[in-house]
């Protein structure tokens, strides 16, 4: 046994030390694998970014109330009376100013995108003071809060960066009126950073919404209060609503985009990976064939075929590992934190997000690279081990 292991070590060392002699083809395989991993991690980081934005939007103990049958705020509608009834439901946390329930209006406004100059459906949210208490992460980072009752707006950090004309001091046109931008806020990377906020009482007449809202966000006492809150609202004959935890709601909002990108990304990665396998096979077959005599000599000296197979496979795995590492690093450098905007189909409005290259993706990328290396090394290794010694020694 010990003999076997020492054989493995010495043959492997031999083959890895001779790598520099095969610089060209080894580098080609290595860069090929790096390319595959970079593309795979890069594409999947888009989906991760969208998911992260949605997940950081959700407060742990928060719930959202929509009209029953509505899948997003955009489609929902609740009267002013409904909003009042909802705020009285059991389970809602209270502070000095009363129940922490925030009735909100959600519409869109056309603003040009910085990148292309074409219009995007930027979300415009009408809020009351409770909107900031429901969203614990809300923080003004520039300028000031808008005055209640005035035609003033504050904008999310993401919206300011992705859409034109949203910096403090500029103003947005709503019909005949100009609403100045007076402040910028952040919300822990959540969805509201893509939005423009204004006093709900100002937005209602501007969009002819009377005294109506689209959703009520509520902070609950504890996570367990949810069932009590939900049951009381859904059994109330005056209401026709649907109650969800914020986490569930945001998950459902990102499903379409997430599945689309992940699906396409996976198909692309698999096809590219296949290409890289052929490249790796080519490299390793070449490596084996250029060492035919060498390997045959080793075997003539008494080295067994097991160690030979392992040495070839480990060379290939080493190449794949380094390639995967390079690819993952490239993807991380190029994409992590890169900000972009896309359309959230569920609410028909723009969301801004940052590409998210996380540890899980990097690990996935490197594992995928090693798989390519394994497949690419195994067949050439078997071939090397099976060559008849006498014949191989005679070869050029």
């Amino acid at each position: 046994m010990f003999n076997w292991i020492s054989q493995v070590v010495s043959v492997t060392r031999f083959s890895i030390l001779s790598l520099p002699q095969r610089k060209g083809s080894s580098a080609a395989a290595l860069l090929g694998i790096a390319g595959v991993v970079a593309v795979m991690v890069g594409v999947l980081s888009i989906a991760q970014g969208v998911l992260k934005t949605m997940q950081s939007s959700a407060g742990d103990n928060n719930a959202i109330v929509l009209r029953s049958g509505a899948d997003s705020e955009m489609m929902s509608g609740l009267g002013g009376d409904d909003a009042r009834i909802i705020a009285e439901a059991p389970g809602i946390a209270r502070d000095a100013s009363g129940a922490i329930a925030s009735p909100e209006l959600f519409v869109i406004i056309n603003m040009p995108m910085q990148s292309t100059g074409t219009d995007a459906n930027v979300p415009l949210r009408g809020v009351q003071a409770s909107a900031m208490t429901v969203r614990e992460s809300f923080k003004l980072i520039e300028g000031r809060m808008f005055e209640w009752g005035l035609n003033e707006v504050i904008v999310g950090k993401g919206a300011r960066d992705q859409f034109a004309g949203l910096s403090v001091g500029s103003s947005i046109e709503v019909g005949q009126e100009k609403w100045p931008v007076v402040g910028v806020f952040e919300a822990d990377g959540g969805l509201s950073e893509s939005e423009i906020w204004v006093d709900a009482a100002v937005l209602q007449p501007a969009y002819r919404r009377g005294n109506s809202y689209q959703a009520v966000y509520a902070k609950l006492n504890t996570r367990e209060s949810f069932d009590e809150f939900k049951d009381s609202l859904t059994s109330d004959p005056r209401l026709n609503v649907k109650v969800m935890r914020e986490s569930e709601y945001y998950d459902s909002q990102s499903t379409t985009v997430y599945n689309l990108i992940t699906g396409l990304g996976t198909i692309i990665a698999i096809i590219m990976g296949l290409g890289a396998v052929f490249g790796a096979l080519n490299t390793m077959y070449t490596a084996v064939s250029s060492r035919t005599r060498e390997i045959a000599t080793l075997r003539a000296l008494g080295f067994r075929s097991g160690p030979v197979v392992i040495s070839v496979v480990s060379e290939s795995l080493l190449l794949a590992f380094v390639g995967g590492l390079i690819g993952a690093a490239l993807a991380w450098l190029a994409f992590d934190g890169y900000r972009a905007a896309t359309l959230n189909w569920a609410s028909f409005s723009a969301i801004t997000f940052a590409f998210d290259v996380n540890i899980k993706l990097l690990a996935q990328g490197i594992i995928f690279a090693m798989l390519i290396g394994l497949v690419g090394g195994l067949f050439p290794a078997i071939r090397a081990a099976r060559q008849p010694v006498a014949q191989a020694l005679r070869e050029l």
Partner: protein, 383 residues
């Protein structure tokens, strides 16, 4: 002829390597074809958009409605041929993931405005006779296995009914086909008169107008005239060519073209490395043979051509196989199960693929070919 034979026999020399190289090139072109189809799906409509059509919508946002009375006003503007309105119905068929566009529209206006929708006279008549009837695209009908005469329930998310219900039932009475490959056949058209009298609120309000102009050259001018007509009114408009409107919409999803270009570059760069490396190897291994060829009278240029020819043969076989497979894969249907309105490989891109094949063969082969050309017979034979 002798060159063909020589190229063929040198490719046969290491069958395994030749095979693997061809396979990796094939993979690159499968991806090329597939990604092209995806880009095409996202850009769907931009290319087939009518150059003579404008879209007029509410200036503030697409969700705000315009009065139906604008139609007559728009039609009076100089340079306007016809105007018709559509509205976003936004209903759900069974479950949200079965997304497709539903729009109330005036049937006669649709027949006139969209010549790319091919509808038989019988179907036209049937739709005109049935108030709750709908006209659906062939693609959509196939997606859900609907048949003529089916009753299709749609749950309204925006438009409640006067009776308080939210489930609308429509009768499938007419089908349209696309006149071109790129025509969107995933739409579902409802009769506007039925919609307007059944909806609980919003009577007389419509989503946007499609306007046909008599001279596409004057599109910008007519668009400006339309916007000027409604300037300073309660509902100001934004008019733009249909292509620009669709492009703007695609831009919102993201810069798909750029992402796909980046992926393609990475793929081609990778494959170029693999193919170039193989070519370099074959030349290095055959230094002796090439020198012999030169010694028996092949010119330097002849040897250069030989190596380039080998490179071309490799990429051509791999590339054409790849494009063919991509075509097969794409015609098997779209990967999102119906979310793309169109999914096909445009002929233009097939030609682009062929050009890329030749370019790739040249780039991968040129360095080894030049090496082969420069070989000194005496030196090379001694190696």
């Amino acid at each position: 002829m002798k060159y063909f034979y020589l190229i063929f026999s040198s490719l046969k020399r290491k069958k395994l390597r030749t095979g693997l190289t061809i396979l990796s090139i094939m993979v690159a072109f499968i991806l090329f074809g597939y990604l092209t189809a995806i880009r095409q799906a996202f850009d769907a409509g931009v290319e087939v958009a009518g150059a003579d059509r404008l879209i007029v919508r509410h200036k503030v946002s697409l969700i705000q409605l315009l009065p139906q009375s604008y139609e007559a006003k728009i039609e009076r503007i100089d340079g306007v041929d016809n105007a018709t309105h559509s509205t976003w119905f936004g209903g759900v068929y069974q479950e949200p993931k079965n997304f497709f566009a539903q729009m109330p529209i005036v049937p006669e206006e649709l027949f006139d405005m969209y010549p790319e929708f091919v509808i038989s006279d019988e179907h036209k008549a049937a739709w005109l006779e049935t108030r709750s009837g709908v006209l659906v695209g062939r693609g959509l009908m196939d997606r859900f296995d609907w048949k003529l005469g089916d009753r299709i329930p749609i749950n309204a998310t925006i438009w409640g009914k006067k009776d308080g219900g939210r489930t609308w039932e429509f009768d499938l009475v007419a089908v349209y086909d696309g006149a071109e490959k790129g025509t969107d056949t995933s739409q579902f058209f409802i009769r506007y008169d039925f919609f307007d009298e059944t909806r609980a609120n919003g009577q007389g309000l419509v989503g946007w107008y499609t306007v046909r102009i008599s001279d596409p050259e004057r599109a910008a001018e007519v668009a400006a005239a339309i916007d000027a007509e409604f300037a300073n009114s309660a509902q100001e408009t934004k008019a733009e060519p249909e292509g620009a409107f669709i492009q703007g919409f695609a831009n919102q999803i993201g810069n798909i073209g750029f992402i796909i270009m980046s992926i393609m570059s990475a793929v081609f760069f990778t494959i170029l490395l693999v193919a170039g490396n193989t070519m370099a190897y074959t030349v290095r291994e055959r230094t002796n043979e090439l020198a012999v060829l030169k010694a028996i009278g092949f010119t330097d240029r002849g040897v250069l051509g030989l190596v380039l020819g080998e490179s071309l043969a490799l990429t051509l076989v791999g590339g054409v196989l790849g494009l063919g497979l991509a075509w097969l894969l794409v015609s098997m249907g779209d990967p999102t199960d119906g979310s793309f309105p169109v999914f096909y490989l445009p002929t233009y891109d097939l030609f682009l693929g062929l050009v890329l094949i030749v370019a790739m063969a040249f780039i991968a082969g040129i360095v080894p070919a030049l090496q082969a050309q420069k070989l000194q017979i005496a030196d090379a034979l001694r190696r």
